[in-house]
Structures are given as structure tokens and as C-alpha cells.
């Protein structure tokens, strides 16, 4: 009888001890930048130390009352450690804060100048961040849109993976500036990509005798999509005459490359630029 009473008393004391031991309840996961309330149990006073990725905070706590964490105290995504210091010892719990909805997109478009008609010639990467600059690692839909002036836009949707969404789009056939836009929900970012003519597709030259030699020039030099090649594209003119062989490099200006070649007697002139070869011109120069 006496031993049963002692056992019962021990159980009551242990149960009371457990009921009033200092403890804190944490969520498994919380959203960044949202106020958070952590329930505590026990009696008396304690100090809560919270260590997060960008914050170290300390709160005086009345055990049994919740610990309220303000938005800026849980602004960063990552692991949070909550350590409750009380007279009964320390209790530590941890939980994760995950990024909130995207608030801005870090959009990298590459290249800034893309040749026309290139398969997968324009690429974009999007990293989404929430209002507190946390990388949004949960999958989110991202729409990429390429818009040419006065033409219908090309649009593709993808889903981000590991915090990044990427796309590769064919570059348009016409040169000019195109708007490259990425959007997710109501946030978007736009970059401008300049589409430039590709390498020359073909060359045609014509020549004219001048007192000091032969004036040779190309017809307008175009790529295979019919765009004038950019200024500065090099055209190499080659001349063969009785004196031997000579070459002159000339830059394209406003679509045309010109050069003056010294010539004597029978002259053969040809031109090349990149993989494009021009026609041959034969002349009889002044002796």
C-alpha cells in the first residue's frame, strides 16, 4: 500500500515536471517575410535566441506566452535555430523559412548582338527573387517572349528548376532590335537584343579602269536572309597581273566594299569574304 502511494506520488511529480518544462513549438516550414508566432510552454521567464541566415535576435519570454517574430526577423530563407534559455536548461529547435512569391526577376539575355536566323541563337536565364531577395527555389512558371517590330512575337513557357528558368530561341530572320521579355505572374523583365546580319552569302563585283589603276567595288553585300552585312565586314580583293599577285582588304561601308588596285596589262580580279567567293573580272589595264 505504502509503495503504491510512493509510486503514484513519483508519477504525479514527473508529470507535473513534464507539463511545466520550458519548451517551444516551431513550424516545420514558414514563409519569408511573414510574421510568425512560436508557442511556448512552461512557467517563469526565459530568453529566446533566434539565429537565422541574416538575423540574430533575442527576446525576453514569459513561458506559456507565444514568441512573436516580426517580418524582418524572418525575412531570409533558410534554417532558423530557436534556443530557449530558462532556469530549467536550454531547449533548441529548428525550422526552415522558404522564399515567398517572386517580386523581381534577374534576367540575363545572351548575346546582346545575335546573328539572324540562328538556331537557339538567343538565350535567356531567369533567377526569381522574393521581396526580401531570397532566391525562389520552388518551381514557378516563366514565360519568355521575343517581339520583333511590327511582327507577331514568339512565346514559350517553361518552369524553373533549382531556382533558374532558361530558354533558347531561334533568332529572327530580319535584323533590328528585338524585345526579349521574361515574366512570371505579374513580375517581368525586358532586355533588348540587337539582331544583326550574318556572314555574306554571295559576292558580286565590278571594276572600272581609272588613270591610277582599277577601281573595284562590290554590289550590296547581303547575308543569306537578304540583310545588308554590318559595316566593317572585311572583303578581300585579289588581283593577278603581269607583275604578280596582290591583295587588298576593304571594309564594307553601307553595304558596299571598294578598293583601288594598281594594275598593268591583263588583269584578273576576284573577291572573297568569309565563306563567300565573288565572280572573277578580267580587264586590260593601261600600259
Amino acid at each position: 500500500m505504502r509503495s503504491s502511494f510512493v509510486l503514484l506520488a513519483c508519477c504525479v511529480v514527473m508529470a507535473a515536471g513534464t507539463a511545466f518544462a520550458a519548451d517551444v513549438t516551431v513550424p516545420e516550414q514558414a514563409k519569408a517575410g511573414s510574421k510568425l508566432s512560436l508557442a511556448t510552454s512552461g512557467s517563469g521567464e526565459a530568453t529566446a535566441v533566434i539565429v537565422g541566415p541574416s538575423a540574430v535576435v533575442k527576446h525576453k519570454v514569459q513561458l506559456g506566452q507565444p514568441i512573436t517574430l516580426d517580418e524582418d526577423e524572418v525575412a531570409s530563407a533558410g534554417r532558423y535555430e530557436v534556443i530557449l534559455e530558462s532556469g530549467e536548461g536550454n531547449v533548441a529547435k529548428s525550422f526552415f523559412v522558404v522564399a515567398a512569391k517572386p517580386a523581381h526577376l534577374s534576367f540575363v539575355a545572351h548575346p546582346s548582338r545575335a546573328p539572324v536566323s540562328q538556331r537557339n541563337g538567343i538565350r535567356g536565364s531567369v533567377y526569381a527573387f522574393d521581396p526580401d531577395n531570397n532566391l525562389v527555389t520552388d518551381p514557378i512558371p516563366v514565360i519568355f517572349k521575343l517581339t520583333e517590330k511590327e511582327k507577331a512575337s514568339i512565346q514559350k513557357q517553361t518552369v524553373s528548376k533549382n531556382g533558374v528558368a532558361s530558354i533558347a530561341l531561334d533568332s529572327p530572320q530580319r535584323e533590328g532590335a528585338v524585345q526579349f521579355q521574361a515574366s512570371s505572374g505579374d513580375v517581368n523583365a525586358t532586355r533588348v537584343v540587337r539582331v544583326v546580319a550574318d556572314e555574306p552569302c554571295a559576292l558580286r563585283i565590278h571594276a572600272q579602269m581609272q588613270p591610277k589603276g582599277v577601281q573595284v567595288e562590290t554590289d550590296p553585300v547581303k547575308d543569306c536572309s537578304g540583310n545588308l552585312v554590318p559595316d566593317g565586314t572585311v572583303v578581300t580583293f585579289t588581283e593577278n597581273d603581269a607583275q604578280g599577285r596582290s591583295t587588298v582588304d576593304a571594309n564594307v561601308k553601307k553595304g558596299i566594299a571598294r578598293a583601288m588596285l594598281p594594275a598593268q596589262g591583263e588583269v584578273t580580279i576576284s573577291a572573297a569574304s568569309g565563306v563567300a567567293l565573288g565572280n572573277e573580272v578580267r580587264l586590260k589595264a593601261n600600259q
Binding site: S54, A77, G78, R79, H110, R123, N133
Partner: protein, 174 residues
């Protein structure tokens, strides 16, 4: 040995001992022990030189972070941290000073997996499966100590002579 030196030597020895107790030698993971897997990253292939730089600079970044949190001085972070990651650590160090709570991290191992390397090579996104020892001290007294297995999403971007950590974010799972 002069009388003054005889006095100084034991004092210096004691001071060194105390210093070693207060500031234990850094035992961060050296770059050579950081495992980096690049298979599966794309669309661009991660070049050998980039692999070496990332291993070296990520190890250095952890060392500078641990040192900055230990000393309460954020100035060293500039060497390997930029952008969001830099700002968040700086804020944490300011909070440490304000609350008199010190957070000690000691990284034990890192298993890095490159997951995205764009064609322009302007960034490298990685996953790090790390083992880290965490110690929290309140007014110099250890109040919590724990070894944690952490999963980090890491975004690194290249600078002139090194790779910087731009995002370091622990996540519940990859």
C-alpha cells in the same frame, strides 16, 4: 636570456595558450577536400579551370564567413561574397554585435554538384550537401552546439580573378 626576457617568455606562452583557447585554429575544409561534381550541369560544359577556381573560392568563402562571424568584423567578406549573400551576412554580424550573441560555424565537408552553367558562363548554380558544426554563444557562454547536415543552393558569379558567392541559401531539400 636577460631578466626581462625570462619574465616575458612565460607570459607570452600563457597569452598564446589563452588566445588558442579563445580563438581555436580554423579547421575549415580545404579546397582540395571539397568534392565537386559537374556532370549534369549545362548547357555549357564546366571547364577544368572553372572547376578548380570554384573549389578554391568556395572554400575561401566559407573561411572568410566563419572568420567574420567569429570576429564580428564584416570587412573580410568583400573578398569572396557579393550581392544578396554579402548583405545578409553583414546584417547577421551587425545583429551579433547588438545582441552579444556569437554564432560559430565550422564546415566539416562539402559535396558540391553543379546544376546550371549558362552558355555565357556568367554564373554557376550549385547544390551543396554540407556538414557543418554550429555553436551559439550568449555573452561568451555556449548555449547550443550541434552538427547539422545542410543543403545549400549556391549561386556563384565570376569576378576578375575569382568566383564570388552571390547566393547561399539553405533549403529543406533539393
Amino acid at each position: 636570456m636577460t631578466g626581462r626576457m625570462k619574465f616575458c617568455f612565460p607570459a607570452m606562452l600563457a597569452a598564446t595558450f589563452c588566445f588558442a583557447l579563445v580563438f581555436p585554429a580554423s579547421a575549415s575544409v580545404p579546397a582540395s577536400d571539397i568534392q565537386l561534381t559537374v556532370s549534369g550541369a549545362g548547357p555549357r560544359e564546366v571547364e577544368d579551370t572553372v572547376q578548380q577556381s570554384v573549389q578554391r573560392d568556395y572554400a575561401q568563402a566559407w573561411q572568410t564567413m566563419e572568420a567574420a562571424l567569429e570576429s564580428g568584423d564584416a570587412s573580410g567578406l568583400n573578398q569572396y561574397w557579393v550581392g544578396v549573400a554579402h548583405d545578409k551576412l553583414t546584417q547577421k554580424i551587425q545583429d551579433e554585435r547588438r545582441t552579444n550573441v556569437r554564432v560559430r560555424y565550422q564546415d566539416k565537408s562539402h559535396h558540391l554538384q553543379a546544376v546550371y552553367y549558362p552558355t555565357d558562363g556568367a554564373a554557376l548554380l550549385l547544390h551543396d550537401d554540407a556538414e557543418v558544426e554550429l555553436q551559439v554563444l550568449d555573452s561568451g557562454k555556449t548555449i547550443h552546439s550541434q552538427t547539422i547536415h545542410e543543403k545549400y543552393v549556391v549561386l556563384m558569379t565570376p569576378g576578375q580573378d575569382r568566383w564570388f558567392v552571390r547566393v547561399l541559401q539553405s533549403v529543406p531539400n533539393f
